[in-house]
């Protein structure tokens, strides 16, 4: 618990706390479903989007040199 409360006040690299960020965005940001931010922030959207037909249709899409994401075939 102590650690959690410490994390909340910990400064991010951009020198803004979570509390400050929420104040800046308004209290409604906390009630907004993640999907909205994911679409508005393309970088996040790319990272979180799933690939089609995992495993069999385009297995070569993953980097062959690195270990794949578990568990097993089919992503």
């Amino acid at each position: 618990m102590k650690k959690d409360s410490k994390d909340l006040t910990e400064k991010a690299p951009h020198s803004i706390t979570r509390k400050e960020a929420l104040q800046k965005m308004g209290k409604y940001a906390a009630f907004t479903v993640m999907g909205t931010f994911v679409i508005l922030n393309p970088k996040k959207a790319q990272a979180q989007s799933a690939n089609p037909a995992p495993g069999l249709d385009e297995p070569g899409e993953s980097d062959g040199e690195n270990p794949p994401t578990p568990p097993g075939w089919g992503g």
């Binding site: 409604y28 479903v33 989007s49 070569g60 062959g64 794949p68």
Partner: protein, 352 residues
């Protein structure tokens, strides 16, 4: 039971300014809940646009309006970038003689369905190409510095619905190249043959399907891809698209009751009273629809299971003769083999 916030949302989106407070006590509205509900349907920009259009901002707290105004502005800027990138992509494809048609949100924006470009939230640029151009488009997009990928050419039972999502170098929005409209098990109901005539029109820039196709694609998408047909799920983004498409010819009782998917879509949202449709539903017809729904669900489940196992068998058949596939499999197994005897055995076997 519809929540008060959802009634209010529907009133703002679809009813004239004078009817916004119908069946709603504004003092009882929980604005945090309204944000959660609206953002869950990806409708915050549309909510702001309609509040402004109907001059209803006096009903909301100031910080609420400020917040959704920001979301609308960000979304509008993003959609402007999306449109510019879609046009550049279209020109590139035409230069390479690739016949393509934009789909979903991008097609709606290009068709000027919305009053304001910032109304609709769009994840990526969707477009469909003909199957024969699959190899060509991969080359074109690779050449244009998309993410580098290692290719594994495998036998496929069905063509994929779309190629993997990519972002071209120095671009912001991801692109999704479709080869089909829906998953293989759903293609007997709705497929890309509906676009044959559009493809026949030749290679052109910024091509979009007809309004009727966009209307149907929207309904089948929500009913089949998003499983609305089995769960009675509704999406306000899809409802809003259909509302804005304004397909008066398609929105007739005769047209809708003939098709179980369209009928189910409109029966699910009948409670909101958005479209002026009174779909007749007797106990017998409801029972018949329910039975048909169970049969379609069983067919989908069976199809997917069979397809999954055939796919795995195909991979196993190709394993001895495909070096790249073996390398890929080895990579996956390396991750697990230390603790599992069977994988340990396969790992050694593949390595030999």
């Amino acid at each position: 039971m519809i929540s008060l916030e959802e009634i209010f949302l529907v009133n703002i989106l679809y009813r004239p300014a004078s009817e916004i407070l119908n069946d709603v006590d504004i003092k009882s509205i929980n604005f945090e809940k309204l944000i959660t509900l609206t953002s869950g349907h990806l409708m915050l920009p549309a909510l702001f646009f309609n509040i402004q259009k109907k001059k209803a901002s006096y009903l909301f707290p100031k910080d609420f309006i400020d917040y959704i105004k920001n979301i609308f502005a960000i979304n509008k800027t993003r959609n402007e970038i999306l449109l510019a990138e879609a046009k550049q992509l279209s020109q590139l494809l035409v230069e390479n003689n690739i016949n393509h048609i934009f789909l979903k949100g991008t097609a709606l924006l290009l068709s000027n369905v919305f009053e304001d470009i910032g109304e609709r939230m769009i994840g990526d640029i969707d477009f469909i190409i003909q199957h024969k151009d699959e190899g060509k488009i991969k080359e074109v997009l690779e050449y244009n510095n998309s993410c580098k990928t290692k290719k594994l050419s495998l036998w496929r039972l069905f063509k994929p619905t779309h190629l993997s999502r990519k972002v071209r170098k120095n671009k912001t929005i991801a692109i999704e190249t479709h080869l089909e409209l829906l998953e293989p098990e759903q293609r007997c109901i709705f497929n890309s043959k509906k676009l044959q005539n559009d493809f026949k029109k030749g290679v052109k820039t910024y091509k979009t399907p007809s309004t009727f196709f966009l209307f149907e694609h929207c309904i089948y998408g929500i009913q089949l891809r998003d499983k609305g047909f089995f769960t009675s799920y509704h999406s306000h983004r899809a409802i809003y698209d259909i509302y804005k498409l304004d397909c008066k010819n398609s929105l007739t009782i005769n047209n809708i009751k003939k098709n179980i998917f369209k009928k189910h879509f409109f029966l699910t949202i009948e409670k909101f009273n958005i479209f002026d449709l009174q779909i007749p539903s007797s106990t017998v017809s409801l029972y018949y629809d329910k039975c048909l729904r169970v049969l379609i669900l069983l067919y989908f489940k069976l199809f997917v299971t069979i397809q999954k196992y055939i796919g795995k068998i195909l991979v196993l058949i190709q394993l001895p003769c495909n070096k790249n596939l073996r390398k890929h499999a080895l990579n996956k197994i390396t991750y697990h083999y230390a603790n599992k005897t069977l994988l340990n055995y396969i790992y050694r076997w593949l390595k030999e």
